[in-house]
């Protein structure tokens, strides 16, 4: 039972089925739009969960990486006519390089200090995007051309859904692969005890830098795509609140759980839409739900639910 539940392919198959069948239940463009936004957030949060949940490092600056990629794609495609896919790949390379350069000094810090440093990074990027109005349009933002691959043009949320769904599945697959490998165990070892990891040969700096870069690249790819999808970007997307929201998704869904990251993204993206019906009370109820989840399921939704399931099933076995 447990082996089936935790087996990689069962989870991946289930995810594929959900992605394939969900459109049957989506009625209008608005609902497809929410689904696409969930997918975007989930991909970023899966990357961030590798950094936060598995390797035990924090970042409050990843919206900066998303913002940089979004602007890079927007400017090169809209102003200079680059093919969007080329821009996306170039942005991912540049953002990865930037993350690589700053990772070493930044990840030497721990805990609150690391949080502050990454926060500062995000703030600097959003200030630059605001100030360089000649290039970025400043606080007014800028319009972005649609995403095209050859003759294909993605415009409607319905069309985007399949691209984002496929990428989400891919992100989950990559994340599960990584975790279930010597590299993934090294990342978790860094979280568990840095000194113990080092004395068995784990180059802890290498792994911290690697996972920081990887998560930045995830955010970068989403940034490029989102710019085309929303067709208009502003520095706000690169802002501090976005970074914090992703961290909340990681924690709420469950640290060190790839599916937890997806669930966190689903709930935090969809819930505000559902709660708008409550109007004035929306934010209060939202906060209340989050508090309750963290009090009742302190390890986050997916790990806590998993532990509960195991307890129930082991009790059932014990009764036999």
């Amino acid at each position: 039972m447990r082996s089936v539940l935790s087996s990689r392919w069962a989870g991946l198959l289930l995810l594929a089925v959900v992605i394939a069948l969900l459109p049957l239940g989506l009625k209008n463009n608005f609902q497809f739009d929410i689904a696409v936004r969930i997918g975007f957030n989930a991909i970023v949060v899966i990357g961030l969960n590798l950094l936060i949940g598995y390797a035990g490092q924090i970042s409050l600056g990843h919206a900066g990486f998303l913002g940089l990629a979004a602007y890079f794609s927007a400017i090169t495609v809209t102003r200079y006519g680059w093919p969007p896919l080329v821009s996306l790949l170039a942005a991912a390379t540049l953002v990865g390089l930037l993350a690589f350069i700053i990772a070493r000094p930044v990840l030497r810090l721990k805990g609150h200090y690391l949080a502050m440093a990454t926060l500062g990074l995000g703030i600097i990027i959003s200030i630059v995007l605001n100030q360089e109005a000649g290039l970025t349009g400043g606080p007014d933002g800028m319009a972005v051309d649609p995403f095209t691959i050859g003759a294909f043009k993605l415009v409607k949320a319905r069309e985007w859904y399949w691209l984002v769904g496929a990428l989400l599945w891919l992100a989950v697959w990559l994340s599960l692969n990584l975790i279930d490998s010597p590299v993934g165990r090294a990342l978790r070892a860094v979280h568990g005890s840095e000194v113990a990891a080092e004395v068995v040969g784990v180059d802890t700096t290498r792994y911290k830098v690697m996972v920081f870069v990887l998560s930045a690249v995830f955010a970068s790819v989403v940034g490029s795509l989102q710019a085309h999808y929303v067709s208009f970007i502003s520095p706000q997307q690169a802002g501090f609140f976005q970074s914090v929201e992703w961290v909340i998704m990681v924690v709420l869904g469950g640290m060190a759980s790839t599916y937890g990251a997806v669930i966190g993204a689903v709930i935090l993206t969809a819930l505000p839409q559902v709660l708008t019906a409550l109007e004035d009370y929306e934010h209060m109820i939202f906060g209340l739900i989050m508090m309750l989840v963290m009090i009742l399921l302190p390890k986050g939704i997916v790990p806590s639910a998993g532990a509960l399931l195991r307890r129930v099933s082991s009790k059932a076995e014990g009764g036999k």
Partner: protein
């Protein structure tokens, strides 16, 4: 040939001379114990040898190569492994995964092979898992193979650290009080494990307060006091040394 040379090694912590001008060598294939009262500098010495601390002065040679200043992971790659006096277990992993991390240096750690799960990754992990299970059995932990580390009792975690260190296939294994906090039976069992490890040709450096165990299994003993060498020699020699009796063994009785 010597396996390890410690030459005029010193470490100061803001005025405290934890290790002072210490020189000694370790021959391959021996069990080499380091004893001394609390605060004598034994753990500090381990941290200096394994690269966790950098010395204030002096140097360390491993297999005749100077290794001072190398990172612990670089020393691990050259064949050093260790356990910790205060447990350093990966509590966020299972017991088996802890041992698998010990196998790190022998596995494919490429980022692309891992992300795309090339067949070599699965093959390597399967072989490593077989070996890790064997090692857990070797240290007497077969019943804990499926356990989460954070659910295991203290005595089992002490052994788990040994299994993890052995997974790296070290030439030099440093054990910092492996029997601390264990009852007499458990101590005996650890004793047996250490002997078996040494019998396989691994050089063992042992820090231990259990004098009976030290006297019984050591080929060579180094006695530290306030970071300095009080004396060294075979167990018989050390036991008869008047300084040792006065400074250390005398207290224990």
């Amino acid at each position: 040939m010597t396996l390890l040379n410690v030459e005029n090694l010193s470490k100061e912590f803001g005025g405290v001379h934890a290790i002072s001008d210490l020189t000694f060598t370790i021959n391959p294939g021996t069990i080499h114990s380091i004893i001394g009262p609390n605060g004598a500098g034994k753990t500090t010495l381990f941290n200096l040898i394994t690269g966790v601390y950098t010395p204030s002065a002096g140097r360390v040679l491993f297999q005749d190569q100077p290794v001072t200043g190398l990172r612990p992971n670089e020393l691990a790659a050259r064949g050093m492994s260790r356990t910790f006096q205060n447990l350093q277990i990966f509590m966020n992993m299972t017991a088996l995964e802890n041992v698998l991390v010990g196998r790190h240096l022998h596995l494919n750690t490429g980022i692309l092979p891992s992300l795309f799960r090339w067949p070599a990754i699965g093959r390597g992990d399967r072989a490593a898992t077989v070996m890790a299970k064997d090692l857990m059995a070797f240290v007497g932990l077969e019943k804990y193979i499926g356990w989460d580390a954070d659910a295991m009792p203290y005595g089992a975690l002490k052994r788990l650290e040994i299994a993890r260190a052995l997974a790296a296939e070290p030439k030099l294994l440093l054990l910092d009080e492996p029997a601390a906090g264990l009852n007499a039976t458990e101590s005996r069992e650890i004793d047996e494990v250490i002997k078996k490890v040494a019998a396989q040709g691994v050089t063992v450096v042992l820090v231990e307060h259990d004098m009976k165990m030290v006297m019984e299994i050591s080929d060579h003993i180094l006695v530290l006091d306030y970071g300095r060498k009080l004396t060294e020699g075979t167990p018989a020699e050390v036991r008869q040394n008047p300084d040792v009796i006065a400074a250390y063994l005398g207290q224990v009785g």
